[in-house]
């Protein structure tokens, strides 16, 4: 369960996030949708505690991301945008390293890594050094790395970027599986169709503000647009009008 309450974040003169609030409950997939530069990544970075909000607060399962950041991070598996691997380590070693840092019990590390390797179908290249991996392979390993400690909350920043059809498909299946496990999944995207196909709740962000935060049907209703793309454009125009 992730709650975000009125967070602001500026970088120098750029006011990137201006009072974003939303909830991402357990057992649901929440999509953060918005054009490039809308403040999605900044919001997510606040949630996985690498940035501190200037104002407002956010919690992960009740743990404040600023005052209890370590406890908050324990409850998160994060896949930052463009996450990189260690090229001299094999895929398996990359995953095991994160498992160790996450405090997975020594005796369980091998089993956990094996499970996640199977789950994400990494077997074929698990023993290879990650140097020269394709974008799809890299994303899979990065994802496996962030899920290896079985986090309750999963934050994915544009996970489908650069993935081909097959890889996107298996990513979608994985996200659904996580939801069925009762996890809280929060992911950002600028692709409407992807968000529409997966998410229970959608939070549309534009210019650092929440344009609309509702279920897909709710959004259609409130914007008066049947087509989700039209609804998206409509919502963004509303923010711009403010």
């Amino acid at each position: 369960m992730i709650t975000v309450d009125g967070i602001h974040k500026s970088f120098g003169k750029v006011h990137a996030v201006r009072g974003v609030s939303f909830n991402a409950p357990d057992g649901k997939i929440t999509g953060l949708l918005g054009p490039n530069g809308a403040g999605k990544s900044t919001t997510l970075r606040v949630l996985y505690t690498v940035l501190k909000p200037d104002e407002g607060r956010a919690t992960i399962d009740g743990a404040d991301v600023v005052t209890q950041s370590l406890a908050a991070r324990k409850r998160i598996g994060a896949l930052p945008h463009g996450a990189g691997l260690y090229p001299h380590l094999t895929a398996r070693e990359n995953i095991a390293y994160f498992a160790r840092l996450c405090g997975v019990d020594k005796a369980e590390i091998d089993d956990r890594v094996e499970q996640i390797v199977k789950l994400l179908e990494i077997d074929a290249f698990a023993e290879r050094r990650t140097k020269g991996f394709s974008q799809g392979q890299r994303t899979k390993v990065s994802l496996a790395r962030s899920l290896v400690h079985n986090p309750q909350n999963i934050i994915l920043d544009e996970p489908s970027n650069g993935l081909d059809v097959m890889a996107t498909r298996s990513l979608r299946e994985l996200i659904l599986k996580l939801k069925d496990d009762g996890r809280c999944v929060l992911f950002s995207s600028h692709v409407m169709q992807e968000v529409a196909a997966l998410c229970d709740d959608i939070c549309i962000i534009a210019h650092g503000k929440v344009a609309i935060d509702d279920s897909i049907d709710g959004i259609r209703e409130r914007t008066g647009c049947d087509d989700i793309e039209d609804a998206f454009v409509n919502a963004i125009h509303r923010v711009e009008a403010d």
């Binding site: 370590l70 996450a83 994160f98 405090g103 962030s146």
Partner: protein
């Protein structure tokens, strides 16, 4: 502690697998220095002996005017050969480098000698050319000796004891020991040790911040349930390990290469046995922490791997500066110098190589103050690692 060790282990494995950086860190730094050093010393020793023993072929203009002088020179292992036409041609030849030194004996040499006026000879050489100066000095010394000889015969002819010409007898007493003489030359060693140690950890120090950031692995790492202190301490520890390895290699390489240097011929017997190698390692260890933290600190301000490399090559020079200054000014070890990292290690090493008693207080100050500075720098690194701006 467990987390720190995990980070440490991963960094060590990662760095060992990176063949290219490993070879530059653990081969180029420590081995290249001593080998170069041995080569240069061998060369200079050979050359200095060569010139003292071999016959000097000295172009002499107007040999016919001073046959006695020519035979005197011959007795000093200097053979007069035919030189250029005249003084002007001789100056040209020396300038052009065809000859290093030319002796010109004017036609009136014999007359002037007989008339007891100082007989003029010209010695043409380029004093800015240190290499050629060696031959010129030999010629000059031979001429002085000839002058002494003539003066002696003249006073004897007047019934005066030739000793009257030598009112003062300068007897130089050299208190330097063979080990002491080595220290001047081998003082350069600490320069290589400092350099090798820093080289060994440079890549890891960059990788800790700029490298991880550029690769995109920093953000996932920071989003893990570990404190940033644990990450940075683990990384600095790994950097220290590689620096220590590099230093050990450098020390061993020097130990081996000294055996191939004919230093005894220069009257030097450096005190650099296995015990001194170990003691030097112990004395340099606190400096490793200073170096690792300093490099990590500088790299953390840079935007990219390349930028970090540029800045760190400047850092590589910084700790060698005090060594250089003290060597140039030939300052004796003083207690206050022991507070300066790299300088104190250098001075202690020089004392050991000279086989002089080691001042216990100096060792204590060197170790504690260097460690203290290292700990402070490490702490600053950790503070900087907590910054938001770290992600760039």
């Amino acid at each position: 502690m467990g987390t720190m060790f995990s980070v440490f282990r991963k960094e060590v494995l990662d760095n060992f697998r990176d063949r290219r950086t490993l070879s530059s860190a653990l081969l180029m730094g420590p081995i290249f220095g001593p080998v170069l050093f041995a080569f240069v010393i061998n060369l200079s020793i050979e050359r200095s002996f060569e010139s003292a023993e071999s016959t000097l072929e000295l172009p002499v203009i107007g040999q016919e005017h001073a046959p006695n002088l020519v035979s005197f020179l011959h007795s000093r292992n200097i053979d007069a050969v035919d030189g250029p036409q005249d003084t002007a041609a001789a100056m040209e030849a020396v300038k052009a480098g065809t000859h290093d030194v030319v002796l010109v004996i004017p036609a009136e040499f014999g007359e002037q000698l007989a008339a007891m006026v100082p007989a003029r000879v010209e010695l043409v050489s380029d004093q800015a050319n240190t290499d050629a100066d060696r031959d010129a000095r030999r010629a000059r010394n031979a001429l002085r000796a000839y002058q002494q000889l003539l003066a002696g015969t003249r006073v004897v002819a007047r019934g005066i004891n030739p000793r009257a010409l030598q009112p003062i007898n300068i007897d130089e007493v050299d208190v330097s020991t063979p080990s002491g003489r080595s220290a001047m030359l081998l003082g350069m060693m600490s320069y290589f040790f400092v350099f090798a140690a820093l080289m060994g950890g440079m890549y890891l120090a960059i990788d800790t911040t700029a490298g991880e950031r550029e690769r995109g692995s920093l953000e996932p790492l920071l989003s893990l349930p570990v404190t940033r202190d644990q990450l940075i301490y683990g990384k600095i520890a790994a950097t220290c390990l590689f620096m220590t390895l590099s230093l050990m290699l450098s020390l061993s390489a020097f130990y081996v290469s000294l055996n191939f240097m004919p230093l005894e011929q220069l009257g030097m017997t450096p005190n650099f046995g296995p015990d001194v190698v170990l003691a030097a390692l112990a004395i340099f260890l606190p400096f490793i922490l200073v170096g690792a933290a300093l490099m990590t600190l500088v790299a953390s301000f840079t935007k990219s791997y390349r930028e970090a490399q540029t800045w760190l090559s400047v850092v590589l020079i910084a700790p060698t500066m005090p060594i250089l200054i003290v060597s140039i000014l030939t300052l004796r070890p003083r207690t206050e110098f022991m507070f300066v990292p790299s300088l104190s290690q250098h001075l202690l090493l020089v004392d050991m190589v000279k086989n002089e008693p080691i001042n216990g207080l100096h060792v204590a100050i060197s170790v504690t103050s260097t460690l203290f500075i290292g700990v402070i720098l490490t702490w600053v690194c950790a503070r900087l690692y907590r910054r938001e701006g770290l992600l760039g």
